[in-house]
Amino acid sequence: MNYRTALGLFASLIAFGLIGTLFLLFKGHHIMGTSQQFPWGLLISTYVFFVVSSTGLCLVSSIGHVFGIEPFHAVAKRSVVLAIITLMAGFLVMGIETPQPLHMLYMMVTPNWTSAIFWMGSLYGVYLVFLFGEFWYMIMRENHAKARLFALLAFFSAIAAHSNLGAVFGFLHARPYWEGPYMPIYFILSALLSGSAILILLFYLHEGKDSSSPVVPAIAKLLTLFLSITIFFTIWKVLTGLYGHVPGKADAYRALLTGPYALNFWLLEVTVGMVIPLAVLLRKKTRKAAFTAAALSILGIFFMRYDLVMVGQVVPLDVIDQMPLPVTLLKYTPTWVEWAVVSLGIGFTGLCYLLAEKRFDLNSPASGPHKTSASTSSHADVVS
């Protein structure tokens, strides 16, 4: 695919997204598929998808840029650019999803220190500033010392912000599917998974399938590791969720494993997102195999986020626990307007990235004490 075609594709996604956004703004948020009992929908999971991607890009690129491990030096520039863009895409989707975004001003005027959303929002704001600092000194000024300092700050703020995003779910004692310390930990792991998969995709497209660059094979090893850990985490999360038949919690897991989310879980999340990519990576060590595994993982990760948000709400709250009702699962189907906003986020990410590739020199590896010998010479079809 050439540069102009890719631009056209992403511009079309944005155009469709803008139509949906205008519908949403003029008709009101009730045209989304969410309801009073099912308040969070596709836009929340898409926000999570984008900010997880941003955090993951930052964390994986830190391996080279901050901690000095050789092959990862080459990914620093593209990582920081895409981390900024995916974070902005997340903010964009969240801004559209939130009915009163201007009221967010009160997060500064009357902040609530006990609110995970307050910490998540504030820390992501700080993280964005550090990412801009890293971008400025690495790409615009070629000042490695300052770029590394900002990268280090971005690394810690990313972990703080992202674990707080996990806490947004983990703090909800009313929702047993999410409640507990698992969520903040899982979110960090899942960011590493997303970051590795996106970087493989990006560098495969950029360097081409015949390149001898060590970047893709190095990140492929990471992806193998993170996929294995994710499978391990998922197995134990599911087993503890089912064990003891805890009302509300086990019901949600049954909805995931054998109920309305079973197809999403077994086919998209487990088979496409975890098992096939891991099998491909273990079987073949080629760049193409890494690319296939990464592409499948990203698709699976999107549905992982979707299932995470939806399954937590699918069991209605039972207020009269002395006389519980038989569980009737709540239904949620995203409307075209919500898919349009997802399309806007994807189009925004793609278009901004393509423009950044043209506008900035992202080919040379980040300069510094451990300058890499990684070749990034061959230009990708996508940017040629």
């Binding site: 009915p99 967010m104 009357t110 902040p111």
Partner: protein, 179 residues
């Protein structure tokens, strides 16, 4: 400063729904939105079956999870025990709806979260909330917990009461008479 609370004697409830309609009229709510509701439960086995009805609304908890999670302090609790939502600060993130174990919060047409407010403007004038006054069987008794002469205090001292979902640690201000 009064300390408001409510006692509900669910055994007296006929399930007519007048409390819900009175509240909807008071706050000019469309039919699909409501600040209180009735939960119906069946008990026993045929032929000895009984239906129980539980009126449910915001519990004005003393440890309100909705207040803890709100990023802007749009949800806040006043010294009189009432949990309020300031619509000027609410961003519509719906975090409070996720945190409330009683499922009593709803969004309005602007995406701002609303719920029962114990009709604070009304009670400031010495009136009772319409859900209380409209009920033909005096299912709800509203009053000041700290007033030893109030009917609410007297009934709470006399009767065995319970709260909903006590294990959630929310410390509700709506009490139910035990049967």
């Amino acid at each position: 400063m009064p300390s408001y609370a409510m006692l509900i004697d669910a055994a007296k409830c006929t399930g007519c729904g007048a409390c819900r309609v009175a509240c909807q009229m008071q706050w000019q709510l469309p039919p699909e939105r409501f600040y209180n509701r009735l939960e119906f439960r069946e008990k026993g086995q045929y032929p000895k079956v009984k239906q129980e009805i539980f009126p449910v609304q915001c519990m004005h908890c003393d440890n309100p999870p909705c207040q803890e999670v709100c990023p802007t302090h749009a949800t806040y609790k006043t010294a009189d025990g009432i949990v309020h939502v300031n619509p000027k600060k609410c961003i519509g993130c719906k975090m409070c709806m996720m945190a409330c174990p009683y499922d009593v919060r709803q969004t309005n047409e602007k995406g701002i979260v609303e719920k029962c407010r114990f009709c604070d403007d009304y009670i400031a004038k010495g009136e009772q909330p319409p859900c209380v006054t409209t009920c033909m069987n005096t299912v709800r008794v509203f009053g000041d917990l700290d007033d030893p002469n109030s009917e609410l205090r007297r009934l709470l001292d006399e009767k065995q009461v319970f709260t909903l979902l006590p294990h959630k640690g929310t410390k509700p201000r709506i009490f139910y008479v035990s049967k």
